[in-house]
């Protein structure tokens, strides 16, 4: 098992999984709309499939928030 941090909270995963799998694992409501940071660096959507997450990594899911004015 690997210990990673997702949105500031510890999580245990199989040795390595892809970002796409991690998104599924965390039941992200709108997977097409989430932005991902891996260790504070932006990950391109095209790379979700082939970017592996492993022990010690910190991942943040960022969501669009559009409100303010109306």
């Amino acid at each position: 098992m690997s210990k990673i941090v997702v949105n500031g909270k510890p999580q245990e995963i199989e040795t390595t999984i892809s970002i796409s799998e991690l998104i599924k694992l965390n039941n992200v409501a709108q997977p097409d709309m989430v932005s991902i940071q891996l260790n504070a660096e932006f990950v391109n959507r095209e790379d979700f499939e082939n970017t592996q997450v492993s022990d010690g990594d910190e991942i943040d899911f960022l969501y669009f928030m559009g409100g303010g004015s109306i």
Partner: protein
């Protein structure tokens, strides 16, 4: 500038702060800040910046006050319904602090007018309700090398990031606008009124910190909170070399008016016809 007796009294709680003092208060009084959107976020931002004595406050918004705004847009009062938001906001700012010069723009910020409008200001605050204008503010500020504060709220959540040239911009974190209607706005999904105040006052504090040079701005950090759990978090970020506007090979070199969500445009029309 020399403060009058009244001004020394008015700003005494700032002047007492060791980090601000008379010198910092002068910087605030000389500051020029543009607030984009006189709504949920723009309201607390404008109220606190006015009270703080920001010398020039520009407000841009093309809407009129709607009854459904009053649940959170605390600068507008019940008799202001149907009044242009910029006029309603200007009236309150003048009542709070006659020191403040208010410049109103009763229109939308667009690709055509953004650079010209923002050039007159030291700092821009995003208090808008939609992604096309959020990305427009980001691109205009990056291109014009203008610092700004991004703010967004939805349901029980809020997020904010401060940009200064050289730090991570909104596009470094959120590459491009979501397709119209893919992500709900507050007018579609709702928002807890008080979180507009929570986030707007954080943005106002960032403006005052920027003008006075006090403390560490929310640069390269996205602050997010959820009002249900009252958990606050800052997510570290870095400038993204592949960012379409501030990266090393930018693809966004001019301003674009992105497509607005259809239901939002319809709700705008409905509001205008009320």
């Amino acid at each position: 500038m020399d403060f009058t007796e009244d001004q020394i009294q008015r700003y005494s709680r700032h002047i007492l702060l060791q980090d601000i003092g008379v010198e910092g208060q002068e910087k605030i009084n000389n500051g020029k800040v543009l607030i984009v959107g006189a709504g949920g976020l723009g309201a607390p931002i404008a109220l606190y910046l006015a009270a703080a004595g920001v010398g020039t406050i520009g407000i841009i918004d093309g809407d009129v006050v709607d009854l459904s705004n009053l649940q959170r847009q605390v600068i507008h009062f019940t008799p202001d319904v149907n009044k242009p938001k910029v006029i309603s906001a200007k009236e309150k700012i003048n009542l709070i602090n006659p020191d403040v010069k208010v410049i109103t723009y009763q229109k939308l910020l667009t690709a055509d007018n953004a650079l010209e409008i923002i050039q007159d200001y030291d700092f821009v605050v995003d208090g808008t309700d939609n992604f096309p204008v959020k990305f427009l503010i980001n691109d205009a500020c990056v291109i014009a090398k203008k610092p700004f504060s991004h703010g967004g709220i939805l349901r029980f959540d809020g997020q904010t990031l401060t940009y200064k040239p050289g730090t991570a911009c909104y596009r470094c974190l959120f590459h491009s606008p979501p397709p119209p209607n893919a992500v709900p706005t507050c007018s579609q999904a709702g928002v807890l009124g008080a979180i507009a105040g929570m986030l707007g006052t954080i943005q106002a504090a960032e403006v005052l910190k920027y003008l006075t040079g006090v403390g560490d701005l929310l640069t390269n950090r996205l602050l997010t909170f959820n009002a249900k759990t009252m958990e606050f978090r800052t997510i570290k970020s870095k400038p993204n070399d592949k960012c379409p506007v501030c990266g090393s090979h930018p693809t966004v070199t001019g301003l674009v008016d992105y497509e607005q969500a259809v239901c939002d445009i319809e709700s705008h029309r409905k509001n205008k016809n009320n």
